[in-house]
Subunit: 195 residues, 2 copies
């Protein structure tokens, strides 16, 4: 698969085949790829917790907010929830660069998930205090992001922004999730070409 | 190439074959991949400027600081500088999530560069005010990151942290660049397995 295919297929999935059992080693392999990525000043402030435990997953799930733009939907129902989670934590001494590293690591992990037939979603809207207690996060580290991982059970299509310019994703009556993306010419502000 | 190979080869290159001419379309294709990635709340606050113009490149270069840990080295000398730049800008109204998106986009672009035989470096240490004037950055946007792109001309190896625990990269007397990376067990703080 070319990287472009991999990137195109790496969407933000929010509904999964929850009975698809993940192994810890799959999540470890994904974290190990993130370990190899660039880190600002090579500080490597990110840490991880991983869960494929249904009981722990059931405690993590209520601490997450899903899909703010889908007002009639409070997140995946039982049976469609993630089979696993990768919690990304940051060393509080390097909180600024941890935010940069976080995107690098999260994208690498989700591309890796896609490659193995899985999918996931980066979730930043988290009840951090409650989740930190559940996970017994050690002092000096903060929860930055939760990656929900599972076997995707929804179709997602990218489309152009409509005339109203809205970037809100929406779900049609067949359950297909539509994500408006800005076009290339609107995001490249300048091109400098010598010849 | 598997994603793991691609990730492993995507290192922070700081010396290039400067006479390797890049086309604008190569950089456009990389930005177009970044365009397809996840964005916090799908706000898509990132914008881009791209340059393969030697004259513009010569103006961009002095605004960048290279490799803080290599104290005897002020950056690549003439002939070893990047052939192109992708400047990543953010909509100031969404500065918090732009930092998250930035890592996602930058990693996607550098993975794409690797796939096409190129390489690059994420540079965050920038004389932003000076560079914004050179590039005529429009109001409401700020420079977040500069991606230097070119055909790499250096060897980089990853290695384990030494006994002193230092994460500083270093260059040996053959010019090989060494990057200490934390091992997997030191970055996974907890594993939850149901069985």
């Amino acid at each position: 698969m070319t990287l472009r295919e991999l990137v195109s297929r790496t969407r933000s999935f929010r509904r999964f085949y929850e009975n698809h059992q993940l192994s810890l080693s799959i999540l470890e392999d994904l974290v190990d790829m993130a370990r190899l990525t660039a880190s600002a000043a090579n500080l490597q402030p990110l840490r991880y917790m991983i869960s494929v435990d249904p009981q722990m997953n059931a405690q993590i799930f209520p601490q997450l907010a899903w899909a703010a733009y889908l007002q009639d939907w409070n997140g995946p129902s039982e049976g469609e929830r993630p089979s696993g989670y990768i919690i990304v934590l940051g060393d509080e001494r390097h909180s600024k660069t941890a935010a940069w590293d976080m995107g690098v690591a999260a994208q690498t992990i989700l591309l890796g998930a896609t490659e193995t037939g899985l999918g996931g979603c980066m979730i930043g809207s988290i009840k951090k205090k409650e989740l930190a207690e559940i996970l017994a996060v050690p002092e000096g580290f903060e929860i930055l992001l939760v990656l929900a991982i599972g076997r995707p059970k929804e179709k997602i299509v990218l489309e152009q922004l409509g005339e109203d310019g809205s970037i809100k994703y929406w779900r049609d009556d067949k359950g297909v999730h539509h994500v408006p993306k800005r076009d290339l010419d609107s995001i490249i502000l300048a091109r400098f070409n010598g010849s």
